[in-house]
Symmetry: C2
């Protein structure tokens, strides 16, 4: 498929996600093309598997987009472990989700800052970095982040593992002044890898 065909396909496609009450796409299911604030309101007890027909989406541990965050790109997620990537804090909940509107591969820029409130030295990135330390960032922590364009996902550990923080230009005007603003579950500013979220 050439880039033009891909663009055409993207133009046609809407966001679409199907959630299932049981693992491996079994049991009760429901397809969504827009955000869901609380899956419990749809008489689901739990989400145990997911098919993303068109993404990207972000899933949240709790209703109303609270708690742990999980980036959900197109593909099959047959069980909780497929989207969590963080097993030390096993909640196994995913109760709300929404499309990521501003994901746009061709134009993504983010600035990392050495201190909170965008103070200290600044590092500008336009690419994916599985190891910020290999790239020259001297710490395992990132105190504040400004998203200039696009949508990004930052991770606690190298190689895109551990807690995920979805950072979008369209939310908070792209400004994340300290780790409390990364997400409601964040209790450290430890970030060791970061990548763009693509359509």
């Amino acid at each position: 498929m050439n880039p033009e065909q891909q663009m055409e396909q993207r133009g046609r496609s809407q966001w679409s996600i199907t959630v299932f009450e049981e693992e491996y796409f079994q049991g009760k299911s429901c397809q969504f093309t827009m955000e869901c604030q609380n899956i419990l309101d749809r008489d689901f007890r739990k989400i145990r598997s997911i098919k993303v027909e068109n993404g990207p989406w972000v899933g949240y541990e709790y209703p109303e987009f609270q708690g742990q965050q999980f980036v959900l790109e197109k593909g099959d997620y047959p069980c909780y472990h497929a989207w969590s990537g963080n097993s030390s804090y096993r909640t196994e909940h995913l109760l709300s989700f929404r499309p990521i509107q501003c994901a746009k591969h061709s134009d993504s820029k983010v600035s990392l800052y050495e201190c909170e409130d965008f103070q200290g030295r600044k590092f500008e990135l336009c690419d994916d970095y599985p190891s910020l330390q290999a790239m020259g960032w001297c710490s395992k922590e990132v105190p504040s982040i400004k998203v200039n364009s696009g949508a990004w996902v930052a991770y606690q550990y190298p190689g895109y593992r551990g807690y995920q923080y979805i950072l979008e230009r369209d939310r908070r005007e792209g400004e994340f002044r300290n780790y409390n603003e990364f997400g409601t579950q964040a209790h450290t500013n430890q970030i060791q890898s970061i990548r763009r979220i693509q359509h």
Copy 2:
């Protein structure tokens, strides 16, 4: 840091990894600059945390580079969950490891094939893909893979999650004819994301 400085830094650096018997870099430790076939031979009972001073490395579940594979890029891994990314099959072992020699960001190419033994339609990649399906690959499986240059890591699930398969030009001449050749722990050809491994 500009690209020249980065290159210079890379030129100076050797592979280096420090393993610890306890979580959070506690207890007995040992630094390596070359491969380790079996950490038990060094009177370690287990590896519970890792600092990669210079990478990339690949860790294995069992001695002599057998079992589950874990890509280890520069950074801190305070516990098992930091490198596993796959919690459904909890082994918590990492008993051997080696440097990835052919990781080279500027020149990485891989071909995915629709069927085993490099048959069927071919897809050539030079970039990272968090979702192969979003890129146009119609299946959640990749039956065979040829690495033309560099080193890659393929993952079971989208977004770089689940089982990891390290695929290098320098091993098997880059030829992986079926899922048995992806790794000793592979029992399916399910691959939904792939990325380059960088220095």
